[in-house]
């Protein structure tokens, strides 16, 4: 590949990066456009952000999103990490087990969404933030598990055996030997889970139940987009993107090359 024509390669990169970044850059730029219209720049202003923060619906939705993301991240990080350690300790690799763990990452969100909606309504469970949390833990724990497992692949198991040979109980080994090595991967996994939860729309939409009380930020954004293009969405979109990008950059820094798919 060293013989690849450099100008052509640079042109391809420029074109693809322009395609990826121009649309979202336009949004960010427009969020600071005083007039709010996409067709005319009328000066820099933060008024759309001010308007956003005085909108009670949006503040409520942001709080709901935060609750869902924090609780589901904590649960998913705990369960996902234990699962990863358990799976990697096991010598036999079961195909069935692998499928169950992999499934939440690839199952179409609409399928999981309607499955959970049917499940909760047949059980007569009143839906709300708690059901969104239950649902988010499903895919979040799979992602945490895959990030932690990636780290465990290069883990030196002999130090665990050394710890056991020296008489440490299982829990002590877990706490004093395994966890310290894994902590960057666990934090990276948690940040990833948090991002996924903050951004998740389809499953939340179906498991939120009736009424506005459990509207999350993506649900709010969806409703706003359907209602029409307004300058507030640009500001909200910029903030939401900023949060995801920040969390992901942190996650990547902590855990080089450990994101799913890499």
């Amino acid at each position: 590949m060293r013989n690849a024509p450099l100008p052509l390669m640079l042109a391809i990169l420029a074109a693809v990066f322009a395609f990826l970044y121009l649309p979202i850059s336009v949004l960010v730029a427009l969020s600071f456009n005083d007039g709010g219209l996409p067709t005319a720049w009328t000066g820099f202003s933060t008024r759309w952000y001010a308007e956003l923060f005085s909108n009670a619906d949006i503040i409520g939705a942001a709080l709901n999103t935060l609750i869902v993301a924090v609780v589901s991240t904590i649960l998913a990080t705990l369960f996902g990490t234990l699962l990863a350690v358990g799976v990697e300790i096991r010598r036999r690799k079961g195909r069935f087990l692998e499928t169950i763990i992999f499934a939440p990452m690839i199952i179409p969100d609409i399928v999981l969404a309607i499955a959970l909606l049917s499940f909760f309504s047949l059980l007569g469970v009143t839906m709300g933030l708690h059901t969104i949390i239950l649902a988010h833990v499903v895919f979040n724990l799979a992602f945490v598990c895959s990030v932690v497992r990636a780290r465990l692949k290069t883990f030196d198991w002999s130090i665990v055996e050394a710890s056991t040979d020296l008489g440490a109980p299982t829990l002590t080994t877990l706490r004093r030997v395994i966890l310290p090595v894994l902590s960057p991967a666990i934090v990276a996994g948690a940040l990833l889970a948090f991002t996924l939860s903050v951004d998740e729309f389809v499953i939340a939409f179906f498991t939120a139940g009736a009424g506005r009380a459990s509207t999350t930020l993506p649900m709010q954004i969806f409703a706003m987009i359907r209602f029409g293009v307004t300058p507030e969405i640009n500001a909200l979109a910029t903030i939401v993107m900023g949060i995801s990008v920040l969390a992901l950059t942190l996650s990547q820094r902590l855990n080089r090359g450990g994101l799913p798919g890499q």
Binding site: I107, I110, V111, I225
Partner: protein, 282 residues
Amino acid sequence: MRDRRPLYLMTPALGWLTAFMVVPCLLILGLAFFRRGLYGGIEYTLTWENIRLVFDPLYAGIFLKSAWIAGLSALIAVVLGYAAAYAIAAMPRRHQPLLLFFAVLPFWSNYLVRTYAWIVLLNREGLIVHLARLLGFEGELPSMLYTETAVVVGLVYNYLPFVILACYAPLSRLNPEVSEASRDLGAGGWTTFRRVVLPMTVPGIATGFTFVFVLSIGNFVTPALLGGGQFQMIGNLVYAQFLTANDWPFGAALSIFLIAIMMGLLTLQTFASEKASGGRNA
């Protein structure tokens, strides 16, 4: 000591997945074989009616249309993504991680926001129409939003980063000496690419294509936002059965086919990857 302990470490997660994924999915499987109640509930008499209805020309047509949109999006995404991954792999090694990071970064920003960006660009009063006017286009420009093209553009845009990631993995592992050997033996640049590089990177292409296809065919956000109300894909159809038409058994039957298509493709992809890496050990 190494074989008993894992069980209780895995219990919370596996219990959770069983309760909130496996059981609900099995429930959907069962639901598809019941009758729809008179007022939208479920009547517990067994029937093949819902499965049969999926093959009704109206619904089979929507399946085919969704498959066409998903296939087209996957194809375009693979061509663009492969080119981008190839270009990244051709850059100096030390720059590659950063380029890859920035190629994937948009993928982790909100899906709705990325789709919404295209509404801003494509709508009647949007940026592209405005630019076209500035460049001197007169008269009524054809609407770009709420078309099949808009949906395909939205899907390609949303999933391109993943394809770049999937194609980059095998490209970066490629041994440059293999290409050099091919050239030394007299093969031209294009022949080397087609006969040497491309076959060795099939797993990345298969993964990228499958991923885009699977996520596109069940998508309901992009058709709803960029396709407008009149545009239906399976995702929207399932959505409608559950939230507006209130025919849950039929919605469940549609979902089963969605899962079946997904599993079929994943099996094919695994097969393609194993076949590609089997003989050559790339």
